[in-house]
Amino acid sequence: MARAKDLLHHPWVLGLTGVLVVLLIWTLVTSLRLVDPLFLPSPAAVLAAGRAQAGQGLLWADLLASVGRVLGGFALSAAVALPLGIAMGTSTVINRLLEPLMGLIRYMPAPAFIPLLIIYFGLGELPKILLIFIGTLFFNTLMIMDAVKFVPRELVETALTLGGRTSQVLLRVITPCIAPQVIDAYRINMAAAWNLVIVAELVAANEGLGKRISLAQRFLRTDEIFLGLIVIGLIGLVIDLGFRLVMRRACAWAN
């Protein structure tokens, strides 16, 4: 009895149960043929579609293309957002200069930039990477700026009274202090990057998970659509867990 209760309190158990219940319902509904298989393929059919695509090498090529674009665009965004956010959080002048501008651009939906990016840069990799860059830069920057604003004043001033220079305060006080929030901001905005890469590929691409889904739609292959969705979800989950792991390793003090 007590053991069962302990098991229930383990963080993974309930989460896994939720997933299994949905899988079970899905299996039941499809095996009882409650819904036309054209609309709702069975888990087995989706698995078969996965095997077929993996066998042809399509799945791996798509994965590589999508993940590459996400990582490229997001790395760029993260690298620019960190110094920019710190600058906006520490300097009143830079803050006043950029915050209204960022506040405005932030409300422009990133997918609406796709037509413009295609006109400027064609159909290659660059417009997709730039889309992810644009779509995540402002959120990353503003979240980092907020983190900087919440750095306790005493921590900065202590460094100054210990003889610290401005550059030392930035590198040795502000940066480590905001690290947990930065990692968290990246983790949250990574989800937006995934959404954007799929949207970009739906519009124009030769390969990628989004492209595969839009092709599947054309041929009414719902099994392949499901496959695409599940793969996207799984990769997102893995990346999310990765960030959490980094957080736990690098910022043990903040837990």
Partner: protein, 258 residues
Amino acid sequence: MQLRVDQVEKSFGSGRSRKLVLDRISFTVNTGEFVALVGSSGSGKSTMMRLVAGLDRPTAGVISIDGTPVRGPGSDRGMVFQKYSLYPWLTAAQNVAFGMELQGLNRREIRERTSYFLEVVGLADAARRLPRELSGGMQQRVAIARALAAQPRVLLLDEPFGALDLQIRESMQEFMHDLWQRTGLTALLITHDLEEALLLAREVHILAPNPGRIVRSVAVDLDRGDLRHLRLSPQFLELREELASCLRGMEPALTPAP
């Protein structure tokens, strides 16, 4: 060394909302002295400390060290803040080493001085613990060790024990007294606790609020052989009562006059 605060004024805001917080404050602290400013909450104590530390500028008057006006924060004036200010991502030892690292001391020296000052504050065993694993009193001791390790010419203490409960406060006062005797440090203490000021400081200035101004200065010549006895000695109690009534006289009455 002489820290000199001369006719210092500080006001916040401008125009109609301008508020005078400190009014013509003057006092000095010489090498080896322990001086205290005592005032109620809102009398401008922290503001005064920030001015001395160079974290803020006076509206009028001059603060100088050996005749050189203070223009900003510097390692010659080490500060221990009212609220805990340890770097939560650094261990106790790393916190103590922090100032020396900023100043670019060599590694061996940093290591030696870190263990020396941890020893001084009685926390050699806690060297590798993170601040959140330390009690409030231990954290403030690490903060004091960190400030001392950076070799300030004067230590600025802004209600360093204000957030601690009474018992720990008393043992910290004894610790501070002991430290002063052993290391011969120079300190400016700011507190709202009259007893604390009288126990530790040779010179006590009473700060009246609205605007903050020094209304009395006393030299405290008491036998500090045993602080626990001192707390109860008639001389001490008499002086405390006298100054307490002086402080009380300045408070706006909380109950309406009959």
